[in-house]
Symmetry: C2
Subunit: 327 residues, 2 copies
């Protein structure tokens, strides 16, 4: 699946992913009214509204982009009907030829991680049948529980030729609270001489990045990158530069562009010299473009056209940043 993602990035010339993270406040009134009229002001009505919203944006942008990244929290808040809209969105995007990255940030211990991996990337055995729960192409995974939380995802990726992106350095303001803590290399709390020793100054995210590099080596694609990638926020370009070299075979999923504050020039160091190795997410900046001053002339009726224009502009912004460094 990493090879398919790379092919699609090369074909579209767009190392970007559209974050399908709908909240009801992004959905234009005419869509909400129609959905609520049909299904009530209920979880079902909300789910119908976000599905219609998603479909219009996907129809309007799918020829320009390689991938989408639905954030499952935005669907989960609408309970079972919301999650049905998530599955419907995943299926529709795959029909349209898009690579689907489920932003689920799951992570647990052994058998429980195996169940999440089956839910999002694999299949479960029911009697003599094999059934797929949500069936995304990639999923995001939280590493806090360590290797035995990650390995079951890698096992399913091997089996299904799918991929994961592991959280390394997230884009949010307080990501440094734990991720930036300077840690002692290779020595943990059980060490007999733990008191007062001299530490090297590596932050936790770098240690996690090194583990990601190890995990990546287990499952390489055909095009120089692994099925095991990483998440590193665009809001931390310097860390992006470091992590690009710590994890040379790991594709980086880069959130934080646009609404969170990062721009094209912040992104350069996440890529390799061939303009590969990273894919940049924008959610609000694309799906709610019509609500921003820059695209307000489209109006709520033409929200999907505003999203298309925002995609075109994002690609141009990244192209310009590459041009600035002669790539």
């Amino acid at each position: 699946m990493i090879d398919k993602l790379i092919e699609k990035i090369q074909k579209t010339g767009a190392p970007i992913v559209v974050g399908l993270d709908p909240t009801l406040k992004f959905v234009p009134d005419h869509i909400k009214e129609a959905a609520f009229a049909e299904k009530g002001e209920t979880l079902e009505g909300a789910a119908e509204a976000i599905w219609r919203f998603n479909k219009a944006i996907v129809d309007s942008t799918c020829d320009l982009i390689p991938a989408v990244k639905p954030q499952i929290a935005m669907y989960e808040q609408f309970g079972i009907p919301g999650l049905a809209a998530f599955r419907q969105t995943v299926d529709y995007c795959k029909e349209k030829g898009l690579v689907v990255i489920g932003d689920v940030k799951r992570g647990d211990i052994g058998s429980t991680s195996a169940a999440y991996a089956a839910a999002h990337l694999g299949k479960v055995q029911v009697g003599s049948s094999l059934c797929a729960g949500f069936d995304e192409d990639f999923a995001t995974v939280n590493p806090y529980l360590g290797s035995d939380g990650i390995q079951p995802f890698i096992d399913v990726c091997k089996e299904e030729k799918k991929g994961i992106f592991i959280l390394v350095k997230t884009s949010n303001p307080s990501s440094g609270e734990f991720q930036d803590r300077l840690v002692q290399s290779g020595v943990t709390a059980g060490a007999p001489d733990g008191g007062g020793v001299t530490f090297s100054d590596r932050p936790l995210y770098e240690v996690v990045g090194e583990k990601v590099a190890e995990w990546s080596a287990q499952l390489m694609g055909q095009k120089g990158y692994s099925y095991v990638g990483a998440v590193v926020g665009a809001t931390y370009p310097e860390q992006g530069r470091i992590l690009r070299s710590v994890m040379p075979k790991s594709f980086i999923l880069v959130p934080g562009y646009g609404a969170q504050g990062a721009s094209g020039k912040d992104l350069i160091h996440f890529f390799d010299e061939n303009r590969l190795g990273a894919i940049v997410n924008s959610s609000r900046g694309i799906i709610a473009a019509y609500q921003s001053g820059k695209y307000s002339q489209f109006g709520a009726e033409n929200f999907a056209d505003a999203s298309r224009q925002a995609v075109v502009d994002m690609i141009a912004d990244i192209d310009q940043a590459f041009a600035g460094v002669g790539r």
Copy 2:
């Protein structure tokens, strides 16, 4: 809700929670056959089987225990029908007066964490209605993304009088990979004198525990404990002792008893001097008791009676451990 949990623990004399983590291999054949006959060897059939299994165990144990902890991964693997069985289980357990801890280990940045918090503990606004997605009493939360991932959960807990348990030191063998890393106190990678400094030897889990103590102070219940608790694995009793004193107001949810290897004597230090402050989970050891040698005389037909006996024995094991230290 923490006050209700404490009341129920005192009333039952059982500081335990039954982990409703059904996999199809735990479900007796007669239940699977009946469910598949009705709904096919499909996700719907699997969901029906685990729901019937859960209901029998809840009916058989609910007078003995204060709480249940369904692990959502086990339901999520069966897609939408599986998650409908999760919701059905949550609702049924609440009807039976049990406190429901949703073991969801969610965690993301700001607005996305807010959506997860709404999904599991709160409500969403749909037009003029307020709707609840899954509506558990407590949820487990992953801290890797820092304060701005945790705060939205705390905000919803305040509003709804519900609670969270934040992962601090998990029960799995590789939990030490990142959680035990020795970190420099209060200084992060950006510090100008980061190179070659002398660090104190505090492991990451202790730093996370200190943050949990701070978060706990924001939202105290009436009985000496906070709505914000922690997860610390029974498989690490020494760390349990340390974290009990680092987080004096945080209730500790303790996984790892039974099938994962810990026993009653490992648990003592997680509790305060009043036998409060902790609640111990057992999943497989209770719900799949009939499959273990000790309870095999019950047979698959009487699996729920075996579960009841396993609950009785677990309470006795913990009582005996308390007696051993004169509490």
